[in-house]
């Protein structure tokens, strides 16, 4: 049996799990005789944090397992923290506060030009593990990207040869030319499990030209519709930094599921509460 865990001990184990890329659910009993007891449930199946009540421990292990498998969200609207009622057999239900730590999602930025610089910084801030690829030695230098986990020099004929891509990966195509976007996008769409988020920068014309080539190759319209191109929210952004904000905003929107509209329009406080009632 592992010893009782306090907040600092749990924090240390959560950070360790992050290093080794093992998901972990952290559970804290908020009320009842076991108030303050902590349990960590790991994605490899083991649990830590001694409990005086074995029934409660197994109820917590089951709850944590469901968070880690994605069967249940810890908080509302897909948040990674929230409070749940747990009912161990034979005792009263207790409130349990849960936090879920999954290994960081990889943000793969293809193209190491001007836009990649602010994108890498913002991606890191949002919690991504950022990997940057380019085929130009002058650009694909790790000194340019202190926030990237790795910067790799690749051949755009086989850009993903040394990169692990799975369904959870988020990919941003920001290469310097439409022929490179085309090469990279084609390979992504032909994977057995294409990434759930693929964004590509570009004007309508450039996106259209890329899509046209892909259609010629037999890629379905349905597949093309899943590509977020042109990537980013419509903010009227012009500089690389502004464009990076627009792209980062879309990544948050994808994760959290907002409307993407200005809150003033969504809430309409002045109109709703102070507008002319006769007209309204």
């Amino acid at each position: 049996m592992t010893p009782h865990l306090d907040a600092a001990g749990a924090a240390r184990r959560i950070l360790d799990a992050r290093e080794t890329e093992v998901g972990v659910a952290s559970l804290l009993v908020l009320d009842g005789p076991n108030q303050g007891a902590r349990r960590l449930v790991f994605a490899d199946g083991h649990a830590e944090g001694a409990m005086d009540d074995a029934e409660l421990a197994s109820a917590l292990d089951e709850l944590g397992g469901r968070f880690l498998k994605g069967e249940l969200s810890a908080g509302r609207r897909g948040r990674d923290a929230g409070t749940h009622q747990v009912e161990p057999p034979g005792s009263d239900s207790v409130p349990v506060y849960a936090e879920v730590y999954l290994p960081p999602v990889t943000l793969l930025i293809v193209g190491a030009g001007h836009l990649a610089l602010p994108l890498t910084r913002m991606g890191r801030l949002l919690g991504y593990r950022v990997i940057v690829l380019d085929d130009r030695p002058d650009f694909a230098r790790s000194e340019r990207f202190p926030d990237a986990e790795s910067v790799r020099l690749v051949d755009f004929q086989a850009p993903f040869a040394q990169v692990e891509i799975d369904r959870t990966t988020h990919v941003l195509l920001v290469t310097r030319g439409h022929q490179y976007d085309y090469e990279c996008l084609r390979r992504l769409l032909l994977l057995d499990e294409p990434p759930e988020y693929v964004g590509m920068i570009g004007s309508r014309r450039r996106v259209r030209a890329t899509f046209h080539q892909l259609r010629e190759e037999g890629i379905s319209v349905e597949d093309l519709e899943r590509v977020r191109a042109p990537v980013g929210l419509d903010l009227g952004a012009e500089t690389p930094e502004e464009i990076a904000v627009a792209v980062a905003a879309e990544l948050v929107l994808f994760r959290r599921g907002g409307t993407g509209r200005p809150l003033i329009e969504v809430e309409g406080v002045a109109r709703r509460f102070f507008g002319n009632k006769e007209e309204g």
Binding site: D6, A7, I14, R79, T83, Y97, E99, L126, R255
Partner: protein
């Protein structure tokens, strides 16, 4: 996915307790209504003030800091209910609306 703030507060907690300092961990465990931060927001408070994180800036953070001072002194975990609805029709800078339940506990060096 966890933001860099969530990781920063864990590191601050480990760092402070490794250094022999007791600190206070304040965690938003429940919310109702429209609140500036949601469940999972937290901050680490030491003798000198906030070491990392936030539970909502001006909105109610003063109340949590006051409780943190008490918990640091007596070591008794408590849950602070920060009611941001009372201020709603005033011109207070802390107008947000909603209620935050913040668990405030002392974490001692091991």
């Amino acid at each position: 996915m966890n933001t860099s703030e969530a990781i920063d507060t864990l590191q601050a907690l480990v760092h402070a307790t490794d250094g022999g300092e007791p600190v206070v961990l304040a965690t938003v465990v429940r919310t109702r209504g429209s609140t500036p931060r949601k469940e999972g927001a937290r901050m680490v408070v030491g003798r000198e003030g906030i070491l990392a994180g936030t539970v909502g800036g001006g909105c109610g953070e003063g109340q949590v800091l006051e409780a943190a001072g008490e918990v640091l002194a007596d070591g008794r975990t408590r849950t602070v209910e920060v009611d941001l609805t009372e201020d709603l029709l005033t011109l207070s800078p802390a107008v947000c609306g909603g209620i935050l339940e913040v668990r405030v506990e002392r974490v001692d060096p091991s």
